[in-house]
Symmetry: C2
Subunit: 691 residues, 2 copies
């Protein structure tokens, strides 16, 4: 065993030395944890990295990625060849060993790096596993047994995101989750004591976790294995936190020092390590045959796991044919074939003004009720975001005492995430990462609080995970809650973010379009952004298929009336305002067409031909956008706009539009003024005018 | 006392009933806490709301703002007239009672609402008080004694931000901070047990806090006062957390229910409350004379506090004249008069390529060392962000054992925030909010992690607090850390955000300009965005005064050469690339001028005349931007651009620019192609072209 541990540490040291870059310390310090996990405890198969019931491993301290890469190599993941392992920090753009683990590569369950994300993802994976197991397992036929193992460093425990996720996991009693604390007491700045002197074990116990200490995490593989096995003990009632004392960069001259964290140990140091171990200091990248042999049992063991599971699945299919069919369908990750038909028809929506958050419920309640693929949750805004359906069940431990008459169940699909927006989004990522499409998580909170969740939403976009975020209270129309709750600039972030669809539908019909787009989106998450307040139903004008194109012509100026004077761009909650403005302009003799523009991302994907046909700017018709956000970014599609120049104001919804000049009469006057300047050439395309 | 409590509850109930909006439940539930704080415990003066040594009160559960407004009215804050109190949720745009407390108004220390922000601000206020007291107090002349009182609900304790801030405060042993937990066990969704079953007291103890329970927080004012007095006990060694059991909406028919949280109790319910109290149910907004009398002592008591403090300050000035002079200067909040001269001259910078994070240290180390107004901290990236100065002292408890030979002190000005980016920014806001300019906090982490901190950065911008954020590793040049660390879309958020200056300086000289702009900025925070990697020094071209204008002409095409063909816009770490590209284009016969464009916000504030003179787009010269961010937002100032179309990639810094096409030869070809299309009118102004 000593040889195995030494070999691992030296491999890491050499890998960082190669190009003079990398994070050696933690990976070296965790050598024994690696052996315990990958050689002894975890149920997985290197030859079947996508095996549905594999244990999930998350390296939340993603900078220690070499820990994972080296273990993938040693245990026989086929794509992780020796050449690939050596490509860490090389100039190879096709390296499977990027600076942080990336979900695209075999053996990597989630992309980690930004601290705290991984542990929250692990909670999400455990939620997924617990839910699927509860729904599909039958006595003697447990087709979902996978355990989730997550390694964290000091950082993930300090990050607020980690605190939120661990607290929620303790509440949920996710006994299929084990968190392994690589407790080396060192961060970039030096001793953890510089900044954190809390009693971590006591804190974890207070959060509903069991805690086990392992005092020698450097060499005592047996104790680590014993602790891990307790993590998987079916008699557990709480998730397990294993506090393992390690030494960063152990064995080197900088052992236990911050400098071991993010820079190679140094040529001489690595040589000295080898000498101290009694190894040939001239040899680099040497893995002794005995060490290679040590790992030889893992691939066959994994094959056996998979074969056993497949025969279990066969038995299960015989004993529970209908359930097995559903299970297999969930494994393929496709949406129910009839999902589009579960959305209401245009004529079934109300015709009175309706808050689009309500439209959202009208649109998806049936889909959510009938499609078990969806799990839905909110960060303590259930009464505000309207995402429940009749008889929804709560995902909560069954032994929690019933609340308001409802008993929790792991089969439940509605999650009360608590006031933990960031964890909500990161946990949703983990749920989506279980297996593509098996669970489609839906989160919801006020749009403004998706700024709290933004780092996790970004990680979902980066990983192209299918998650739908429903952001309510999305404009100054949120009203009296004031500027802290009015998201004037946040859309810029989500419109600029790659892979995600940010969609602001303008009425019920457009909400249906938003869901069509979101659930058909192949490239990642979507955010559907809806209003708190009632907005007009533009029945007969709005079109769900138009939404899926990002923007479309809502009202054209008939050819008989000559060339239009202006295109008004309406968006989301203020689409009706653009329609009213067009009418007012018409009364003043201005020919105004109206374009509904719910999504930059979708419109940006359309060809130039379509874009020009919708906007007609190339014909010299200026476009004026109406949206009470800062105009930033609209310059690509508009020549002028009514927007916000600063933060909002606390005023009731009915007054706030007027307070900020969003009043049809005065707006029409300003459009007329702008068009005069436009015709005289005093303002021109490329110089966006704030109206 | 009963009458006082009843009166307060009914006042809140009536205020919400008035316009059928508002958050009554928590404010009603906290009536006894209000009396204990405002009538008995806090040292403050309603007639002197800006008294320097007043106790600071933070309502972290800002939706309960009526709690604060009613107490401000009852205790005699002059601007909080009866008419003003009644303006809560009215249509008055000049209401002093917005939906969440706002810092602009007397008696409000910080704007709160987004949950968790207030408690982190309170930690910052306590840091400021502890630091100032340590620096300025002398035996028998304690000119800074102010205590910080913060009320939190369940939400602030669940939010990751709250967890981060409370953990750090426990570590810091901020005994001048008392957190009062309005423990009503109800959130929007219902019972807290739905989502959180942790042992809050045990968790707080694990984080280094003392904990006191008050079991009857509804009526037992005496016990609350006794607990609060323990909070201020000078013999404390830890901050105090007071867990007070309250009942949301107490006294009403919806007492203890979630529905009491965010909607008025209902007309009949309020009548029933009045009947149950034995009050006249017909009377609304009735405050009995006895209750009014109860509060009469507070204003005179406050006057006395201020007078005592002023005479103390007089004694202090006699006994410690020099120190008193400094203290008074700090109270006025102006920067040292010579601060600009503490920045290096242009010729003192190195001429070799220099990472701008290093330029940053070269620029401000002297200023930081010599100006005690600055407190600096980083979220565990001290070795990376380069913001220390020789012999810097660490703000840490003095009884913490020395780390790496350094002993902490509350006089220290360097803060190790830990891996807590969000708390760092929110704590900085609190430090800045102590009193305008008395402390100017500087925070630092990787640019990408300012997404974690974004909600707090936004709150600083909303409150116009002077904080400087130094964001390092700000481009794909961050290299091998990969897409999780490469901020392709984040600048869009900070460029769109009102009040904040986001500045990307292009070399050392521009870093000096960034600091000139940041510290002269009257309207809020600034973010200076610098590179990890070495970038060329454009000595003789870059100008610090140019940076303060947001953009300026770096290289003009001489009139003798005719009209320019193109303006290249260079930004930050890639400014040198734009200069190289201009040279390459010159070799190909293309007349390219170069504009350095470090800040949208600053350039946006300049007049159209200056903007046109810099860009010359109105002359028909197209502008092409070079910045490896998504182009979103550049459409306002440019016609085409080299940007990112997706997330980044893990590759060493030296390869990554080429990988994404940022290579002068190929870029020049693409510019030539674009100019051809431009001249032929196939692309035109207003249709941004991605190159």
């Amino acid at each position: 065993m000593t040889l195995v541990l030494q070999s691992f540490r030296l491999l890491i040291a050499d890998l960082c030395q190669q190009f003079g870059m990398g994070h050696p310390g933690s990976a070296i310090g965790m050598s024994a944890i690696g052996v315990a996990l990958f050689a002894y405890t975890m149920r997985y198969s290197p030859k079947h990295p996508s095996w549905f019931d594999r244990d999930r491993f998350v390296l939340s301290n993603g900078h220690a990625c070499l820990f994972l890469y080296a273990n993938l190599y040693l245990t026989g993941y086929e794509k992780m060849t020796w050449e690939q392992l050596l490509s860490y920090h090389s100039e190879r753009p096709d390296s499977l060993c990027p600076g942080h683990p990336e979900i695209e590569h075999e053996g990597v369950e989630v992309t980690t790096g930004p601290l705290g994300q991984g542990v929250a993802n692990a909670v999400g994976l455990a939620v997924a596993g617990r839910h699927l197991g509860t729904v599909f397992n039958r006595v003697g036929a447990e087709v979902v047994r996978a355990h989730v193992w997550c390694v964290v460093g000091d950082a993930c425990l300090q990050e607020g995101l980690g605190c939120e996720a661990l607290s929620y996991a303790g509440h949920l009693k996710l006994t299929n989750l084990t968190v392994i604390y690589d407790n080396n007491q060192i961060t970039c700045d030096g001793s953890v004591d510089l900044t954190n002197t809390e009693d971590v074990n006591a804190k974890m116990r207070a959060c509903g976790w069991d805690v086990i200490d392992v005092m020698d995490g450097v060499n005592d593989v047996a104790s680590i294995v014993a602790a891990l096995e307790q993590g998987r003990d079916p008699k557990r009632t709480k998730p397990l936190f294993i506090n393992i004392r390690t030494i960063i960069g152990v064995g080197s001259a900088v052992a236990g020092q911050a400098v071991a964290h993010g820079v190679p140990l140094g040529k001489d140091n690595v040589r000295a390590m080898k000498r101290a171990y009694g190894w040939d200091e001239e040899k680099i990248f040497h893995i002794p045959p005995k060490v290679q042999e040590f790992y030889h049992h893992i691939a066959p063991r994994g094959e056996k796991y998979v074969q056993e599971w497949e025969s279990l699945l066969n038995q299960y299919s015989s004993a529970h044919p209908k359930l097995a069919q559903t299970f297999k369908s969930r494994m393929t990750g496709s949406l129910p074939t009839n999902w589009q038909s579960l959305l209401p028809s245009p004529e079934s929506y109300p015709t009175d003004p309706t808050p689009s958050r309500k439209s959202n419920n009208l649109t998806v309640a049936k889909l959510l009720a009938e499609s078990p693929v969806f799990m839905v949750g909110t960060a303590d805004l259930t009464p505000s975001v309207n995402l429940t359906w009749p008889d929804y069940d709560i995902f909560n431990p069954p032994d929690l005492q019933p609340i308001a008459g409802k008993r929790g169940s792991y089969a439940g699909r509605y999650m009360h995430f608590g006031i933990r927006e960031h964890a909500m989004a990161a946990i949703a990522n983990g749920m989506a990462a279980w297996s593509p499409g098996t669970i489609v998580p839906i989160t919801s909170t006020f749009f403004m609080f998706y700024l709290y969740a933004a780092p996790a939403v970004r990680m979902g976009a980066l990983q192209r995970l299918k998650v739908v975020h429903v952001a309510t209270h999305d404009s100054i129309g949120a009203g009296e809650d004031g500027p802290t709750h009015q998201p004037v600039e946040l859309a810029a972030l989500y419109r600029a973010m790659p892979n995600i669809l940010y969609i602001r539908p303008g009425d019920s019909e457009e909400v249906a379009g938003a869901w069509l787009a979101a659930l058909s989106h192949p490239d990642g998450p979507a955010m559907i952004s809806v209003s708190r307040h009632a907005i007009p139903q533009l029945t007969g004008l709005t079109r769900r298929d138009g939404v899926t194109k990002g923007a479309y012509v809502l009202q054209e100026v008939p050819d008989t009336e000559g060339k239009p004077d202006v295109t008004l761009i309406g968006v989301g909650a203020e689409l009706g305002l653009a329609v009213d403005l067009a009418k007012e302009l018409g009364a003043r003799g201005v020919r105004a067409r109206v374009v509904s523009f719910p999504s930059f991302a979708l419109f940006g994907r359309m060809g130039v031909r379509y874009q020009r046909a919708v906007l007609r700017r190339h014909e010299g018709v200026p476009a004026v956008v109406v949206e009470p956000y800062v105009s930033f970014g609209w310059e690509r599609w508009a020549d002028a706009g009514f927007g916000m120049k600063g933060f909002g104001h606390s005023l009731p919804g009915k007054c706030i539009y007027g307070f900020f000049g969003f009043e049809v009469g005065s707006m029409a006057g300003r459009v007329v003024g702008f068009l005069g300047e436009w015709k005289e050439g005093r303002v021109g395309r490329g110089e966006f005018v704030e109206l």
